[in-house]
C-alpha cells in the first residue's frame, strides 16, 4: 500500500476525473438524433464511460501491486527538475513572445534556455556570458534559415519582428 502519493494511483484517478468531465460535458450536447437514433452526444458518453472504466481499472491495478507488465522506464529513477524548469520556461516564453518579438528571436531565446536545461541535466550547466552568447548564436543559426525557408521559399506565415520577412 503506497498511499496517495503513488503516481500510478494519481494517473488512475485523473483518468476517472477526465471521464467524469467528459460526461458532464456530454450533458450540454444536444441529443437530436435524426434517422440514426444516435445524436452528437452519443460518442461523448461512450468515450466518457470508457475513460471512467479504464480509470477505475487503473486505480485497482495501482492498489493491488502496481500496473501489470509495466516496463521499467529508461533513465534515472528521479527527475532532474531544475533542467526541466529551464526547458519548460524556454517553451512557454516562446509561446508568450513569438507574436511580439518574432519567430527568429523568440525561438533563439527558447533554444538558449532549453540548452541551459539539457546541459544542467548532463551536470555541466554553464552560465558564463560566453556560453550564453555561443548558444544564442547557434540558436539563431538554426532558427533564421528555417524562418527564411518557410517565409521566403514556401510562403508560409510565421511572425516576424519586422514586416520585411527577414527578421
Amino acid at each position: 500500500m503506497k498511499g496517495l502519493r503513488d503516481p500510478e494511483l494519481a494517473i488512475g484517478i485523473g483518468t476517472v476525473l477526465l471521464g467524469a468531465g467528459l460526461a458532464v460535458g456530454a450533458t450540454q450536447i444536444s441529443s437530436e438524433a435524426g434517422y440514426s437514433g444516435v445524436g452528437p452526444n452519443f460518442l461523448p458518453w461512450v468515450v466518457g464511460a470508457m475513460l471512467a472504466l479504464c480509470g477505475v481499472l487503473l486505480v485497482r491495478e495501482a492498489l493491488t501491486g502496481g500496473y501489470r507488465e509495466r516496463e521499467e522506464p529508461s533513465g534515472a529513477a528521479t527527475g532532474h527538475w531544475a533542467g526541466f524548469a529551464w526547458v519548460s520556461v524556454g517553451v512557454l516564453v516562446n509561446a508568450a513572445l513569438i507574436t511580439t518579438i518574432g519567430f527568429i528571436l523568440s525561438c533563439s531565446l527558447c533554444f538558449v534556455l532549453a540548452v541551459r536545461g539539457f546541459k544542467s541535466a548532463e551536470g555541466r550547466l554553464d552560465l558564463s556570458l560566453r556560453a550564453w552568447l555561443v548558444d544564442a548564436a547557434v540558436g539563431f543559426a538554426i532558427a533564421a534559415p528555417v524562418y527564411w525557408m518557410f517565409t521566403q521559399l514556401l510562403a508560409i506565415n510565421l511572425p516576424g519582428l519586422t514586416a520585411s520577412g527577414w527578421l
Binding site: W86, S88, A114
Partner: protein
Amino acid sequence: MIDLWNQLLQGFITAGSPVNLLWALLGCTLGTAVGVLPGIGPATAVAMLLPITSKVEPTASMIFFAGIYYGAMYGGSTTSILLNTPGESGSMVTAMEGNKMAKNGRAGAALATAAIGSFVAGTIATVLVTLFAPLVAAFAIKLGPPEYFMLMVLAFTTVSAVLGKSTLRGMTALAVGLAMGLIGIDQISGQARYTGGVPEFMDGIEVVLIAVGLFAVGEALYMVLYEGKTVETQNAMSKVHMTAVEWKRSWPAWLRATAIGFPFGTIPAGGSEIPTFLSYAAEKKLSSHKAEFGTTGAIEGVAGPEAANNAAITATLIPLLTLGIPTSNTTAILLGAFQNYGIQPGPQLFDSNAALVWALIASLYIGNVMLLVLNLPLVGIWVKLLKIPKPYLYAGILIFATVGVYGMRQSAFDLVLLYAIGLLGVVMRRFDFPTAPVVVGMILGPLAEAQMRNALSIGEGRWTVFLQRPGSLALLLVIVAVLVLPHFLKLRRAKA
C-alpha cells in the same frame, strides 16, 4: 494487367519529373537524417512539415512525406547498429544482433545487410503493393458504412489492445485519443463539442500538435528529466562490405522476412514490432550458426528483422490508401496530410486521384534506389550526425516543433497546448502507456463516428444492422477473437 502497367508507367512519368525527383531526394535525405538522429522519428518529422501542405501541390508533398517515412527506416538501422539505443521502434530487434556484430568489428557488414535487405524487401513489397492495392480498392468499394465502422473498430482494437503489453493501458490511451478527436464541430450535426467557448477549439485540435507534442516535446522533456546522465557508447565503424558467405546467409533471411513482414503491414495491426520479432525468432530457429546469436552477432539476425521492418512499413500503405485506415503513427499523420488537401483516402482514391496514387507508388521504387545509394556509400556522413551534442539536438528539435505547430494555424495558444501535450507524453512514456492509440484514435475517431451514425441511419436506428450484414458480422467476430483469444491462450498456458 495492361491497364495496371499503363497506370504505373504514368506514375513513373509524374514521379520522374525533375521537381518530383527533387522532392523524393529531399524526403529520402531528410528521412535518413531523422532516422539516424535519436529523439526524432518519421512521425514527428512528417508532422512538423505538415504546414507545407498549404503551399506545395499534393503529389509533390506526398512523395516528399513518403520519402521521409521509409527513409527513416533505413537511417534507423544505422543508429541501432552503431549506438546502443535504437533510433526508432522498428529497429529495436536489429539493435540486438547488430550491436553484437559491431562490437566484434563487423559494423560494416551489419550496415550493408541492413541497407541491402531494406532495399530488397522494400522493392518486393512495393511490387506487391502495386499488384494488390488496386484489387483491395476494387473490393473495398463494395463496403458500406457498417463494414467500414467495423474495420475501424478492428484497427482501434489491434492498435490499442494487441500491440502493447497491457490491454488496459492501450485502451486508456485510445480513449484519450478519441476524447481529443471529439473536440470541435461535429461533422454530421454541425454542433460544437467540448470547445468551452475557446475559439481555437472550434476547428478541433490539429494532429500535428498532438504528434509533435507527444513525440518531440515529450521526448525533449523526458530527456531533460531522466536521461541527462545516460551515457551512450558508439561502436567503431568498419568497411561497409559483405563477404560471399555473408551474402549467402543474408539472402534467404531477406526473403523470408519479406514474406513475414508484408502481411503484417496490410492488416490493421500496424506497427513493425511484431513482424520484426517474428522474423528474428524465425532466423534464430532456422540458422545453422545458432551459437552466434546473442554472442558475436549473427548476420541473419540483422538481415531478417531489417527486411521485415521495411516490408511491413511499405505494406501499411495498402490499408491507408485503399481503406483510409491508418495503422501506425506515421500513416495516421499521412492521413492528416491527405485531409489537408481535402482528399479522403479510401477505395475511391484509385479513381478520383489515380495520378497522385500511382505517382506515389512509383516514387517508392525510385526512393528505394535513392536510399540504397544514400545509405551504402554515404553512410560515413550520416554517422557524423551522431556527434551532434545532445543539448543542441534537443533544443533544435524544439525550434522545429514550433515551426510545425505554429505554421499550421498561426496560433500562439497552440504552443501552450503543445507544452501540455508534451507533459502528457512524459507521463505516458514513464508509465509505459503506448502512444500510437492516441494518434490513431484522434484522427480515426471522427471518421469512425461518422460511419457509425451513417450505418445506424441505414438501419433506421437499429443496432442490429451490424449483425445483419455478413461483412460486418464477420468483422465483428474477428474483433471479438482478437480481444478474447490472447487472454484465452494465456489462461490455457497458465493451466498447462
